[in-house]
Amino acid sequence: MTNTDATSQDPGTRPAHAPILSLRGISKSFGAVSALTDIELDIHPGEVVALVGDNGAGKSTLVKILAGVHQPTAGTIEFDGKEVSIASPGAALGLGIATVFQDLALCENLDVVANLFLGHELSALRLDEVSMEVKAWTLLRELAARIPSVREPIASLSGGQRQTVAIARSLLLSPKIIMLDEPTAALGVAQTAEVLNLIERVRDRGLGVIMISHNMEDVRAVADRVVVLRLGRNNGIFTPDASNQELVAAITGATENAVSRRRDRKAAQHSAVEEIAL
């Protein structure tokens, strides 16, 4: 196992700036379950951090704490060098932390435009539908969205279309940090590529990005650092060129695991087949 210590990491991969967001000793328990224990995490401007871990590792919980949906049980959050408490989703958005939630959090009875601008409509007393619709199309174009009409309720969209809407919404407020919880889980090939492009674009604009994904290929493609959570604890920080074996070992907590066993078995079968063929 090549777990690096959570706080001492390869200095070569760390951007020179001070972190825009740093978590110290964040813990969260739901009743008897401790979903997160003593999490340490730094996000720098212009950096993509991939958060990986098994199902139930606590990734979404961490994102929800930063989005103001849950309150941490213990620990401190520093944003832009100042200690903050993110008491509500509104507070998180106010700080400049935008989130694409795993469950998307869209209102099915509202149309695409209304969902994109929800809580941040243009001109509160006389909604400016025309400007909102134009802006909506611009955002969706950027993501190569395949959405036939922005005036249909969200309920009529496919899973991937909804995901695109949720991602577009996170860009609306020009945030400083974007958190994407499995943003490409339901997306088609072109849309996934567009989202990865987008992640690189916002990184180049100097935003911090936290991306959660189970897809190691996507992670390797865009991440500057890979942070592994396991059973609610930090379990190592890697560079994206770390070997698959290393990552899987950190995620599952053992060099000998379901993934490696399967790979070994496949390899054995493969060589057996080759032997027969010979």
């Binding site: 099915e108 809580g119 909604l127 309920a155």
Partner: protein, 413 residues
């Protein structure tokens, strides 16, 4: 016509049928109905059927003066129903609106007649009582997580108790017939010219906003509704309204009180559809957690809805004591509560939250009043009236549930 080289922004996906022409607009309308997005259609059809039946049974029903009376009655409960629309939009309920209206009418009677306060002050106190009551429900809901159903059910009893308490042993106060307040509730009618202007105004506003929206949309490279469709809608509406005003003027004319009620409906409709507040209401009714995560102050919106509902209930009570020229222990009891809630649901506001419109209060209360008025004309006993009104409410809820299912399967939430 401006010829754009590139297709309009919202016309670039070739899978969408584009309803550019008048027949296209009609086709879109039929599609919506079929998918369960019924809007006001069932209630309009229902109203026509009800009127036809009652007119057949007793022609007095359709007489202009009977309709004028009906409109006076609509205004009182209709205002209460408008508040119910607000809480239903959030998927909540207020069962104490009847009691609140009775309490408000008692406050006006006691302060104005018994204590000799100026009428305006008495009305202000009654309205404030409504606002405070709504504030208490909001507090119980937001801070203690008490379901509005239970909070308002206990409120129903408590407020009724207060009404009986302040009325004291006499139990009934007569309001002076000659006062402008009671005249407003019983006889004040718009002058003819005023009624006609008000009948033409909505169509004119529709055309003007329709044209300005169209120019703005075309300028922004978006598709726009065909001008003929806008003109047709506005024209049909104006003709309808002018005919209605003409018919009413064959009797006493259009009551000011009803005009005020319609004014409230228009304002509420604007607030629900064209403001950030209304958008937040719809969003919370659809998915409370999503609305919260979008940064909406959910508690504040709940508070506004509960306060608005109780305040409008108080206002409805004030109007009804003007209508009856008395504040009594019976005010606000009986079927007031049910009628106010039923009107909103019959008019098409969903009990499940997230769908509804201010117009449903207007349409629904007209249906309810038509039924109750028609049954009264037939000299049916109140036992039968209750049963029939109950049946109509059941039908309305069934239509709501079925339409909801159909919408779910057509992806319209």
């Amino acid at each position: 016509m401006i010829q754009n080289s590139q297709p309009a922004l919202d016309r670039s996906d070739e899978r969408v049928r584009h309803d550019e022409t008048l027949s296209g607009a009609l086709k879109g309308f039929l599609d919506r109905i079929r998918s369960g997005d019924l809007g006001t259609l069932p209630v309009v059809v229902g109203l026509i059927v009800i009127s036809a039946v009652f007119t057949y049974l007793n022609p007095v029903f359709i007489a202009p003066d009977n309709i004028v009376n009906m409109l006076f009655d609509c205004a009182t409960v209709g205002v209460i129903s408008l508040g119910i629309v607000c809480v239903l939009m959030l998927g909540e309920i207020d069962l104490s609106v009847g009691s609140m209206s009775g309490f408000a009418s008692a406050i006006v009677g006691v302060l104005w007649v018994n204590h000799g306060w100026p009428i305006a002050a008495a009305i202000a106190v009654a309205i404030c009582a409504g606002a405070v009551c709504g504030g208490i429900y909001a507090l119980l809901f937001n801070r203690l997580g008490m379901p509005s159903f239970i909070a308002s059910l206990s409120g129903l009893l408590a407020i009724l108790g207060m009404q009986l308490y302040i009325l004291g042993p006499t139990g009934s106060i007569n309001l002076p017939y000659t006062s402008p307040f009671v005249m407003f509730g019983q006889i004040l009618i718009m002058p003819g010219w005023c009624a006609y202007i008000l009948a033409v105004l909505p169509g004119a506003v529709m055309v003007l906003t329709g044209m300005s929206t169209r120019t703005r949309r075309l300028a922004a490279n978006l598709s726009a509704r065909p001008l003929t469709a806008v003109l047709l809608r506005a024209g049909l509406m104006t003709i309808g309204l002018v005919l209605a005003v003409y018919y009413l003027s064959l009797g006493r004319g259009v009551p000011w009180m009803f005009g005020m009620f319609v004014g409230f409906v228009v304002v509420m409709n604007y607030a629900l559809t064209r403001t950030k507040w209304g958008r937040s209401m719809t969003a919370i009714g659809g998915n409370r957690e999503a609305a919260r995560r979008a940064g909406i102050n959910v508690r504040l919106i709940y508070t506004s809805a509960f306060v608005l509902c109780s305040t409008l209930a108080a206002l409805g009570g004030i109007l009804s004591c003007a209508r009856l020229a008395s504040s009594s222990q019976q005010a606000g009891t009986g079927d007031v509560n049910l009628n106010a809630i039923a009107a909103a649901v019959i008019g098409g506001t969903s009990l499940f939250g997230g769908r509804g419109s201010a117009w449903s209060a207007l349409l629904g209360i007209i249906v309810i009043q038509a039924i109750s008025n028609g049954l009264t004309l037939l000299n049916l006993p109140s036992s039968l009236r209750y049963m029939i009104t109950g049946g109509v409410l059941a039908i309305a809820v069934i239509v709501d549930s079925l339409a909801r299912r159909s919408r779910a399967s057509h992806g319209r939430a």
